[in-house]
């Protein structure tokens, strides 16, 4: 019956789109955790045309709205993952350690089942990055995990100027060091020197472009790598800086200070040792929770306490999955482990949502439940930090992309026979044969 209702809504959407307004959907009687503002008991959220149009304890659903009664359930903003490898994308190759010209845009599978698993975990926005085996492995992408994507364009987030959102990935420490690795660095100091040299080159390139003042005869030859680094220098692209050890963290901050780029520290395994320095630099940290220390020399001192240490220092802290290092389906667990180690409940939930939206420059669109923001919503069976809580529904821009009551979506959530294969496109409310090889 529930399926029927949503099918009906889908038909209504289509027919209403023709006249420009979609049928509103009202989520009623839920406990709402809006992240910005206090939790609302028995609250209502109304969404229309992909946006939140009303939220509060005493909101009356508009006439004609589809009512989604969520008594006993909890609603949160869709989760934002600041560091993920879903989509099986690749970045730089083995030819050199710094490749700002390479875009993960050109090497990602929009139909990957890993994207569906992220939807099942309540993730609606993700920063999908190339790896850390380079000082700079290329440009990252901020994606909206919309349903039925057939190509990467279907997942992009476009700004007002028509450009798509994304950052750039840098790394220091051992991953990008290769003993006897030719162009690759063999030490930490060499790593820093190589990065500095490239940014100095980019400054010179920018100066030439600036002096040319649009005169084509005076412009330097186009250089994709330099163009990308100029965007970094101009603070248009955020550097997502993979770094673990306390000294490497400080090196990343030193480079940031020298060149003035915007930075998000990624992993930050020894953040608890330099939390005050991170806070003083006003650098946001995106951290991960791993079940045990070690696995490599740089992460022997990783602690669940990173979250509380950064919170107490006054730094902005968010969480990430690094999928498949940790599976997107249990991203909520990060908050539980952070609270276990002393982080406040409010900041732990903020670190799954709004903090990450800020790090991705998407705070006007996602990360909290507020009027005017994207209708990215998750419906939970209970308390978000309880192990027993399940993600029941995930909505992106007003469309439901995951529904645990749908057998196919449930299979994605739990795993099982067939879950490991890319299931291809399917429509939540329709389990029959769509034709065309679906």
């Amino acid at each position: 019956m529930k399926h029927f209702l949503y099918c009906f809504a889908a038909i209504a959407f289509i027919s209403c789109t023709a006249i420009g307004q979609q049928q509103p959907v009202a989520f009623v009687n839920a406990r709402i955790i809006p992240i910005v503002g206090q939790p609302i008991e028995n609250g209502t959220i109304v969404i229309q045309n992909g946006k939140i149009v009303a939220i509060g304890p005493n909101v009356q659903p508009p006439a004609g709205a589809l009512i989604n009664n969520l008594s006993g359930k909890t609603i949160m903003p869709g989760l934002v993952d600041t560091h993920s490898h879903i989509g099986g994308g690749s970045g730089a190759d083995a030819s050199s350690p710094i490749q700002p010209d390479v875009r993960i845009l050109d090497g990602i599978n929009a139909r990957s089942s890993s994207i569906q698993r992220a939807q099942a975990g309540g993730i609606t926005t993700a920063n999908v990055m190339p790896g850390s085996g380079h000082l700079d492995s290329g440009q990252t992408l901020y994606l909206k995990l919309r349903d039925n994507a057939v190509k990467i364009d279907d997942l992009l987030i476009f700004g007002k100027d028509g450009s798509y959102a994304g950052g750039i990935k840098f790394a220091n420490g051992t991953n990008s060091i290769r003993a006897g690795g030719g162009a690759f660095p063999g030490t930490r100091a060499k790593s820093a020197a190589l990065v500095r040299a490239q940014f100095i080159k980019a400054q010179e390139y920018r100066d030439k472009v600036s002096k040319a003042a649009g005169d084509a005869s005076k412009l330097p030859p186009r250089d994709l790598a330099m163009e990308a680094l100029v965007e970094v220098l101009d603070r248009k692209k955020v550097v997502h800086f993979h770094t673990h050890r306390h000294d490497d963290i400080l090196t990343a901050l030193r480079l940031q200070k020298e060149f003035g780029f915007r930075i998000v520290l990624q992993h930050v395994s020894e953040a608890w040792k330099v939390a005050d320095e991170i806070a003083a630099a006003k650098a946001p940290s995106s951290i991960i929770f791993i079940d045990s220390p070690g696995g490599k020399l740089e992460t022997t001192d990783i602690k669940f306490e990173n979250g509380v240490a950064l919170e107490r220092a006054g730094a902005l802290v968010g969480f990430h999955t690094d999928d498949s290092i940790t599976d997107s389906r249990w991203f909520l667990r990060s908050a539980g482990l952070a609270i276990r180690a002393g982080m406040s409940r409010d900041k732990a939930l903020y670190a799954l949502t709004m903090a990450n939206a800020i790090m991705l420059d998407l705070q006007d669109r996602v990360g909290s439940l507020e009027v005017g923001k994207d209708a990215d919503i998750i419906v939970l069976s209970g308390d978000p930090v309880s192990v027993y809580t399940q993600v029941l529904e995930t909505w992106v821009e007003g469309k439901r992309v995951f529904d645990r009551s749908d057998p196919k979506d449930r299979l994605t959530a739990t795993g099982g026979f067939g879950a490991g294969n890319d299931p291809g496109d399917h429509i939540n409310c329709f389990d029959g044969d769509l034709g065309g090889g679906n």
Partner: protein, 406 residues
């Protein structure tokens, strides 16, 4: 004056030392009462407001506070929830260390594909950091050994997560022989085995040799034959890691051919072969609930343990083996996720206590809170499965081995 002052100092020093010794012997000694708002004995229903008396390393009494009086002189420890010390039914910690560097990865010798003579006790580092790490979450007993990355990688052992050395830790020096079927068992580099069928042929050939040796009047004394003779005589089981359905079926086929004991390990596709596994009578040490899907674990389901258990198959959970991170999983979290995916809390707790103990053959000593058993306890400030709950104490053999809040 000087002399007398020095005498006084010595006297105070001696007195201080005596007090210290006394305090130490009290804390390390044997008489402790653990009070729990909920006590999961795993030998019956949970007890509300329970008391466990510990004396001389063993459980002396357990029951509701109304029935168990705490004798004078017992140290009293309070906890919201008390469970038996947790058992990790399959891990590689102690052999593989947390640094993940060649010098501390000792759970696999890549020199040959069949090495059942490799003993876990010769590689177990009782003071390895990961042993301390899991102990802090309440894990008191581990089944550890050679990793599932070769056809026969070596032996496994059962240890308590305490002791300064292997002798102090060991419960069973040779528990099982670690066998792997599937992609992980291929030797690579053009060496055999390089296919599933070759793996089966090589394993069968080894067991045929062992069977023939066992019939001889003078049993073979080489290390390999001696240990496989114990398998043929059903003294120890093969721990067969088989994730894909095809590998599980091969394990069952070979077990039947040689009438040997088998403990199935991993068994990602177990939920697709419930009737076959049940008919074999073999227990299953199921993969970590949060193991990564893919490869031979393509059909991995977080509901696997729940489905096998519901069919009446003996099931334990494990932290398993990871080549990278997390260098060890925490079996408590794996059971928690099983409890969130179709298993009752009691059954999920059983997979890391009494049911694990039975599969490992140590339920006479550990796995439940019962009079006469080892005093191995885990204490929590809430539901042990919730991520926001802390383990506040771990006791092994009647001694508090961890009081960190973790």
């Amino acid at each position: 004056m000087t002399i007398s002052s020095s005498k006084i100092n010595i006297t105070f020093f001696t007195l201080g030392l005596m007090i210290l010794v006394l305090a130490f012997s009290l804390s390390a000694s044997a008489q402790i009462a653990v009070k729990g708002e909920t006590v999961w004995t795993m030998a019956g229903e949970p007890i509300s407001n329970g008391v466990i008396l510990v004396n001389n390393g063993k459980i002396e009494a357990v029951g509701p506070a109304s029935q168990v009086n705490i004798p004078a002189g017992y140290r009293v420890i309070n906890a919201k929830v008390v469970t038996p010390g947790l058992i990790d039914a399959h891990t590689v910690i102690g052999l593989n260390g947390y640094l993940n560097q060649p010098h501390d990865q000792m759970a696999l010798d890549g020199g040959a594909s069949i090495q059942p003579e490799l003993r876990a006790i010769d590689a177990y580092n009782a003071e390895e950091k990961l042993v301390e790490w899991v102990r802090g979450f309440g894990v008191t007993t581990i089944h550890t050994g050679h990793q599932p990355s070769a056809l026969i990688s070596g032996q496994t052992m059962v240890a308590k997560t305490t002791g300064k050395n292997v002798d102090e830790a060991t419960v069973i020096p040779t528990a099982m022989i670690a066998v792997t079927l599937g992609n992980a068992a291929n030797a690579g580099a053009g060496r055999s085995p390089g296919s599933r069928a070759k793996q089966a042929a090589m394993l069968r050939a080894e067991l045929i040799k062992a069977l023939e040796n066992s019939k001889k009047k003078e049993p073979a004394t080489d290390l390999k034959s001696a240990i496989l003779d114990r398998v043929i005589k059903r003294e120890i089981p093969l721990l067969i890691t088989a994730e894909a359905a095809v590998d599980i079926m091969t394990a069952l086929r070979i077990a039947k051919e040689f009438n040997i004991r088998v403990v199935l390990d991993g068994a990602s596709d177990g939920h697709m072969l419930i009737n076959e596994i049940k008919a074999s009578g073999f227990p299953v040490i199921v993969h970590p609930t949060m193991a990564r899907p893919g490869g031979d674990r393509e059909n991995l389901s977080m509901e696997n343990a729940a489905k096998l258990k519901a069919a009446g198959i003996p099931v334990a959970l494990q932290s398993g083996y990871e080549g990278y991170v997390p260098k060890t999983r925490v079996v408590l979290f794996e059971a928690a996720m099983a409890a969130a995916n179709g298993m009752s809390r009691r059954d999920a707790l059983a997979t890391i206590t009494i049911d694990a103990a039975r599969i490992l053959g140590i339920d006479g000593r550990v796995g439940s809170i019962a009079v006469g058993k080892d005093a191995d306890l885990a204490m929590y400030d809430g539901d042990p499965f919730e991520f926001i709950t802390h383990c506040i104490g771990t006791m092994i053999n009647g001694k508090m081995v961890s009081e960190v809040i973790r």
